[in-house]
């Protein structure tokens, strides 16, 4: 499929790259930058050629900013997810399907690896190696369609992850997401696993809506968290104490703090120090930790240093257009193509979904269960829509955005239902133009004209 040459990292940055620190992992192992370089320039292009497709429509395309070295390590964590999870799983670590946009502290603390639907699909597509972008997408679409045939055509793309689990493409040991948080399909999809041949254990952590000033909501979640942790611990064999939980909370809080600091640095910079792909890729590490919070936090620290240096030297990220229009992105599970947007003269400066989770640390003293519950109930994204929109407007102002795009995928009932409301409120409170776009081509790099045209037209208008 690739008409353009595959993306590759130039040899001239090798020495500089391998002089940087490697990455530490939670099992105590490390990987050197030289090893990362070998993987990203030799092994990964062979095993995962789709990821190196340089076509502009490749949503998962790597950053062109090869001099932002943390970006290469970010790519490494993405492409090694499969190997790392499979290795740990083989050693007895349970894998748990969770929801996107939720805290992972409890899952990691209990000795599990939480994977949200997006990561499940990335993992599922990587189970077959040597695929071109088209082949990889076809594989993903086949899984998606098998799910739709089994359940419903009305289901959002998340059904692909559930089908990947059903079809045993990836091994998941427990299905235990938070419900109601950002998505209404999740509860019905978890329920569909009850009549499968392989009876994967299921548990739901109910996330109460309309929970403001209701202490009983946190108490309810806290009880469920204990049950959740017991279930994961029973699979992992790990003994869970408050101390174990607090250790994990402290680690993930550190990640959240660094990501927030990076955002503040980035927003305050005269020139955007990275392009959209790197900015979002790095910040998102503090949201789901890509299977390894230790490695994620390590990379966040390295990234922060690199961004600080760039800001000090007034370096603009490669690919960032001159006088770029600054766009704030809203909505779950899908976003505009960063490369297209850059070509059209825009850069992404923030995202309500992932920032929401990152912006709320968990208290490090007291009852860890209640603390996690309280932090989750404080997510700005999960407040009443009007309050959420006010927070979004504040983020838009802080990030000096010129416009807002609210995106949701086909079949999404819960976010799409308030897309206009949020867009209208943000427009009024932040004084910027807004639009909302439905995306039907998630997971495909073909027939993307509809959303691309709308995004580009919006950028032009901004």
């Amino acid at each position: 499929m690739a008409i353009t040459s595959p993306f590759s990292y130039p040899e001239e940055i090798k020495d500089k790259f391998i002089a940087t620190p490697g990455l530490k992992f939670k099992d105590g192992s490390t990987v050197s930058s030289a090893e990362i370089w070998e993987f990203m320039t030799k092994e990964a292009p062979r095993r995962f050629p789709y990821a190196f497709d340089a076509g502009a429509n490749n949503m998962g395309r790597f950053s062109d900013d090869v001099h932002f070295l943390s970006g290469i390590k970010r790519g490494y964590l993405t492409l090694t997810l499969k190997d790392r999870v499979m290795k740990q799983h083989a050693a007895g670590t349970p894998t748990v399907l969770v929801q996107g946009g939720q805290a992972m502290d409890a899952y990691y603390a209990a000795g599990g690896i939480p994977v949200r639907p997006g990561l499940v699909m990335q993992w599922a597509r990587n189970m077959e190696e040597g695929l071109s972008l088209r082949q990889s997408e076809t594989l993903g679409l086949n899984i998606l369609e098998s799910g739709r045939r089994k359940i419903s055509i009305d289901a959002c793309n998340q059904i692909a992850a559930h089908a990947a689990i059903d079809n045993k493409v990836v091994p998941i040991d427990l299905i235990a997401p938070f419900l109601c948080l950002r998505c209404s399909d999740m509860s019905f999809l978890v329920e569909t696993h009850r009549n499968r041949v392989h009876d994967i254990p299921r548990y739901l952590v109910d996330y109460p809506v309309d929970h403001e000033n209701k202490p009983w909501a946190a108490e309810y979640i806290a009880v469920e968290l204990r049950e959740l942790i017991d279930k994961i611990a029973a699979l992992s064999g790990r003994k869970i104490t408050d101390e174990v939980l607090f250790d994990e909370i402290k680690l993930e809080n550190r990640g959240r703090r660094i990501a927030t600091e990076i955002a503040d640095l980035w927003w305050g910079a005269e020139n955007p120090p990275t392009n959209s792909t790197d900015f979002f890729g790095i910040a998102f590490l503090a949201n789901d930790f890509v299977g390894d919070p230790v490695a994620a936090v390590d990379l966040l620290e390295q990234s922060k240093k690199e961004i600080e240096e760039r800001i000090q030297n007034n370096v603009k990220g490669f690919g960032v257009p001159d006088h770029a229009k600054r766009l704030f992105i809203c909505g779950s599970c899908v976003g505009p193509n960063a490369h297209h947007a850059q070509t059209a003269g825009a850069i992404f400066v923030g995202r309500d979904d992932s920032w929401s989770c990152i912006s709320v640390p968990v208290q490090e003293e007291g009852d860890p269960y209640l603390n996690i519950a309280k932090s989750m109930l404080a997510y700005p994204y999960e407040q009443r829509t009007e309050k959420r929109a006010e927070w979004t407007a504040d983020m838009v102002k802080r990030s000096r955005a010129d416009g807002v795009i609210f995106m949701y995928q086909w079949g999404c009932n819960y976010q799409s239902g308030v897309a206009r409301m949020i867009s209208d409120i943000v427009k009024e409170r932040a004084g910027v133009v807004t639009t909302f776009v439905e995306v039907g081509e998630l997971g495909r790099s073909e027939a993307t004209e509809q959303s691309t045209n709308r995004v580009e037209a919006f950028i032009e208008m901004v």
């Binding site: 009305d154 019905f188 978890v190 569909t192 009850r194 009549n195 819960y414 239902g417």
Partner: protein, 401 residues
Amino acid sequence: MSVKTLDVIRKRLEERPDELRRARENGLKVVGWVGYNVPEEIIHALGFIPVRIAIGGDDRLVEIGARYASSKTCVFIREIVGAFAENQDPYIQQTDILAFDATCLQNYRAAEVIEYFFKKDVVVLAVPRNFHLDEAKEYFAHEANEFTRLLEERAGAPLDSARLAESVALYNDIRKTLKSIYTFQASKDNVISWEEVYDLIQAGDLLDKREYLSLLTQTLDELKERQHHPVIASDDGDCRIFLSGSLIPRGDRKLIGIIRSVGGRIVGDDLWSGILPHLDLDIKEISPAGVALGYLNRTPHAALPYLDLESDRRLKKLQERLSEFKAQGVIYHTLRYCDPFTFKAKETKNVLAKSGIPLLEIHTEYAGSDYEAMKTRVEAFVEMIKIKSEIAEEQGVLVDA
């Protein structure tokens, strides 16, 4: 010969919007409620006039609603939003306060959208997903108290326990009478049709509750006069259809009309716009929490997940009702983007197939464009059931011979 009280009810429904307008002029307030777990007795006991907002069948309103919610919102909710946008529905025009529950999350979104765009005073009752757990019940009890507090603020008076007891008794009588009437529609000498009973149930969403109970009692007396002991059994050659799935509110009679037009006879339903919410409601304690828990402990709405098939009380209830009403097939109605019901269609079909009950899923919207396609499918389904019955009958005759 038609049941005379039904004509009275139809007339009273025509007069009801004006009646509500006059009541409001006299200082009473109307609470429009939307959902499955809204404890209506609390609204009633606080002196409000409860009116259920459940309308469907108008594609134009669906399109209007999509401008405020989205085209991916379920058809029913889109129409509700569209109706508030247009503000022409006589009952919507008369609402002072809205009470939504969050049983279905799309309902919750509708509450937010209607509150924001149409400046309505909205009260929300959150509903736990893990509804069967003790901690969820404890949580819901708190929610019920909070819901009551918000309504008390609007009523300007606290909830009186004696009045709540009266409301509970009144509603219990309504439910009991409805259940008795419901038996008649499925009986051999069909003195009242399911369609008439369905309209009768939905009339209760709008009429004054005391008057409604009186009209129900009159209806039941009339029915008893005509048929002393209704026996649920098949009439010769009828095709007994059970209706399940997404709700069918007033204004939406497309599928119901099609079933009748092709010779099917509906003999039961478990729709949340039908008899289901009136079944198994056992209020053990006269308090907001007691009433709300009574609601939560009924057969749950499909939006509340059961993680184990074996424990699913919805399916058990469906199977019980199929057997009770001697249904020969299920038409499972799913509205576009009504995920709670749509996602369970295939599974329900497989479960029922084990007991030899065929299921036809009809996935539809409020547009008329799929009318003929639906008709063809329903007709084929009805024909199939009839042929199956004839074969069974012939085989029975042969065995008897």
